[in-house]
Symmetry: none
Subunit: 539 residues, 2 copies
């Protein structure tokens, strides 16, 4: 049986940016677009050119993708032609292959929000879509408030869609803009509009999660006949978010009836990167990944119940609906080391540590990771600290030096010009090769600006480590991430430091403490020790 | 029309406790049970008596509830009578009105996991349920893996359910134990088993969120005829969690077709407490509440998109499917570079600042926001700081006090037992009502643990602010978020602090500096000033 093509349309960069607290930089947009393209989505909606400088800059510098890069905008305003609408012109000027325009499909919104006649709105849709098509671009019409509109005035909602289709739109996207529609209702309405003559192979679905049904509404629409699904990675988006592609993709690819019926452009190889892509987005946003996220959450395949865990050991299919490896995730069975050992050996090999199967250190390393993750550490991203932990258990980590004590002072006061200034100072006392050394540094950089206490501490620590100082000369801190997380029963601070050196290497280390300075110091120590190990000082 | 009764069965205290990292104390279980009873659920599953000491203790001390308190266990084991099964005896000994027993409904699990014959399993179900009924209790049978079982061997899955019903079970709960069933499949199978003779008014549904469809699967089962819905508050539970009652309750109570068809025992008054109950559970678990949660999330009614925000100002129903007040939540129109003057005025009105249209301060406020967002500030989430910025431009912000200087010291060294310990100390010098005041605090809390420099600084600052100190007595820092961001050409640290007080108010403030302590101090100052303004000290 030939499979039908079902198209995936990602709007992480546009609707996803409507998430409270989310504002992507142009560089971040490029990084996300690349990841989406690698995943295999069909459309990447990049933003609204002209609406803000970041979106415009992104389209100027957009990476070359297999996916169709799409600019978003709105239908032309009444009282001017499509050619003379400057908002629409800015969207067209982004030069994308595809252009998606939102326009009203609910009569109430036309009269109440736009204040124009119902006929004018239809004409705005028609003329805008025709304008896109005339320029040789692919046109999409986002039928805003389609489901509410259909419930109030089905004839008008359908007429708006038909105007777009007649003008040459490749797709009409049925939007549940306020997120209020429920799955069975979406199924019924989509079936009705297809029966009324709208062609399913030119319809898309765009849902929001306001009742926690966005994924289900999307599936219901697909079952009723639409052939394009819109959503975002990790379900980012306005209010409660958009339909979560991170959940929809594996469901469509792995589960029946969808797996047999559809080709969605994402292949098995890309699917195995899904957990990684999801975590990358959280990293960019500096968000704590949702442990309970479907498919990609750290808990998604964690079997805590005693009954479940013992059955899983006999046969994983007893309590898992798919194999975690398919989405790049991993099974977690508390109190059992067996599951993780092969995984662990692979990561150790990657770090240049060959450990034979059955080495008892493997069990100890897994146990240490479990204990420390319970305290708030995270070895997912902090590969440098993971490597040091493993080396310690394997007896392959020299002490290098011992920190006896440190002291950091941050002071804010008026200077002689009566301006408030800040200054941080750090004193570090270490013992290297049996000798005690005191170093002091302050936080002011070459330009006279205060760079803060962690900077002062880093400088003081590196300043005098005896024979090691020379090796550390080219090391720089490039990123510093802080999260409040759960450590046992108390909230603690987790600091992840990214470092690099002149060889171009970049490594991440982690520190955890209720005290942010301590947590930073611990991550810093790991960063230094990792470089000493890698630069061959581990003798 | 008389409404049909649809029953809500909460398993937060049992299946919810299977969430990774969750372990309720007996006192917490009692507090949650009380909140569930106030909400109006019909059943509260309290745990598995005999399986762990907390669960047993909870049943001993359980609060008197209108809801039926239910003990959970498993059907008797093969080779002994129900009367002589000690695991079942422990469950019965909890003395609850209702008892729910899980038992296999999937033939493969009977033979592979239990290693008994299919007939023995049926007999275990029958005899266990009959035993409960004989003791005058209400019996529920949890049909484990029902949907997978039905797909493999429909006759056996139905026979297991029928055995329980024939033995007198009030309810048979169809469980999708591994979370793999999808909504349309659940609808089809439930409709088939009812057609096959299982009475819908004695069937329940228990789903998991492994494909992000637990809520939709529950609704599908209700539409197909079941009359009991199981779930947990905030969707806690094994792996990806159970069906989220916090989403299901408002959908069933407020939205069609459910609202007209069913009486669910929760009334409008209790519904208005839903957001509060959801946050209370997060408080108990010391979790940061999910901003994007349906209905109860802080972002659930936040309108960031410029187009949406301006329409909302004309008519809230344009982009909201329900009124936020119905679930005890509130509308937010965040300030961001995507929003304009009308939105700003609305936001100011909500903060109690009535500014007439055309007031030149409006332009200045927007300009200030733009300038400061370029420096790395974010007023999207930091509503408290936004309000202060606006007040400053409007000339409605008293100085309260002046910070002359501060100094923070963080020290890490060995104590007399040769253990490394940390201690932070902060000195703050302020001028209040013309008088200079010096305060000093250290970071150690009541338990002797170091809470870090920001904590010390907060304590020192609040300690002596003259006539303002009393007002600040009930203020607490509840969250602290740090990210490195771009401020002009330099990387800077942005700190967002969430505070709350005994009135239940919660507010966010922001600080930006290359120095993390300075950034924290700035956010802290805003948090204090916001409370002073709101508590009427702005005279």
């Amino acid at each position: 049986m030939t499979k039908e093509r079902l198209y995936l349309y990602d709007t992480t960069l546009r609707d996803g940016q409507q998430t409270q607290g989310v504002q992507f930089s142009t560089a971040e947009k490029k990084q996300i677009a690349q990841a989406l393209d690698d995943l295999g989505v069909d459309y990447i909606e990049g933003g609204w050119p002209g609406a803000n400088p970041t979106d415009s800059a992104f389209f100027d510098e957009a990476p070359k993708t297999k996916a169709r890069l799409t600019a978003f905008g709105m239908t032309k305003r009444a009282g001017r032609s499509a050619e003379n609408d400057d908002v629409l012109a800015a969207v067209m000027n982004a030069g994308t292959q595809s252009v998606c325009l939102v326009g009203k499909a609910h009569d109430y919104h036309v009269t109440a929000a736009l204040g124009i006649s119902l006929e004018e709105n239809i004409e705005n849709i028609r003329a805008s879509i025709a304008h896109i098509v005339a320029q040789g671009r692919e046109a999409l019409y986002d039928a805003e408030h389609f489901f509410d509109g259909y419930k109030d005035n089905p004839g008008y909602a359908i007429a708006a869609c038909r105007a777009a289709l007649d003008a040459g739109a490749r797709w009409v996207v049925l939007c549940d803009t306020n997120g209020g529609a429920l799955p069975s209702e979406v199924h019924r309405i989509v079936a009705e509009v297809i029966a009324a003559g709208l062609p399913g192979e030119r319809l898309g679905i765009h849902t929001h999660n306001d009742t926690e049904n966005a994924v289900a509404c999307s599936l219901a629409a697909v079952e009723a006949g639409v052939r394009q699904v819109q959503g975002t990675l990790n379900g980012l988006g306005e209010r409660c978010g958009n339909a979560n592609l991170t959940s929809l993709i594996p469901t469509l690819l792995l589960k029946e009836p969808y797996a047999s019926q559809f080709d969605i452009g994402v292949n098995r190889g890309a699917l195995a990167q899904l957990t990684h892509v999801s975590r990358m987005l959280d990293d960019i946003l500096n968000r704590v990944p949702m442990r309970q996220a479907a498919y990609v959450g750290a808990s998604a395949f964690a079997h805590k119940a005693g009954l479940h865990a013992s059955a899983i050991l006999k046969d994983p299919t007893t309590y898992e609906h798919i194999e975690p490896e398919l989405v790049g995730n991993a099974r977690i069975i508390p109190m059992s080391n067996q599951a993780g050992q092969s995984n662990l050996r692979r990561r150790l090999t990657e770090a240049g540590l060959d450990v034979e199967k059955g080495n008892p250190a493997l069990g100890r390393i897994l146990e240490q990771i479990k204990v420390r993750e319970d305290l708030g550490y995270s070895y997912d991203t902090a590969q440098g600290s993971f490597e040091l932990l493993a080396r310690a258990e394997l007896g392959q980590l020299p002490e290098f030096f011992e920190v006896k004590r440190y002291k950091v002072t941050v002071e804010r006061r008026k200077n002689k010009y009566n301006r408030m200034i800040s200054l941080s100072e750090a004193v570090v006392v270490v013992k290297v090769d049996g000798e005690k050394r005191l170093s002091v540094s302050e936080s002011v950089d070459e330009t006279g600006s205060d760079r803060g206490p962690v900077n002062a501490l880093a400088k003081a620590l590196i300043k005098d480590l005896g024979r090691y100082s020379a090796v550390l000369d080219d090391m720089r801190l490039v990123d510093f991430k802080v999260r409040i997380t759960q450590g046992g029963t108390e909230a603690v601070t987790r600091v992840i430091i990214d470092s690099e050196d002149d060889t171009g290497r970049r490594w991440s280390t982690v520190g955890v403490s209720p005290n942010i300075i301590d947590a930073s110091f611990e991550a810093l120590l790991d960063a230094i020790r990792w470089k000493l190990v890698r630069d061959g000082e581990a003798k």
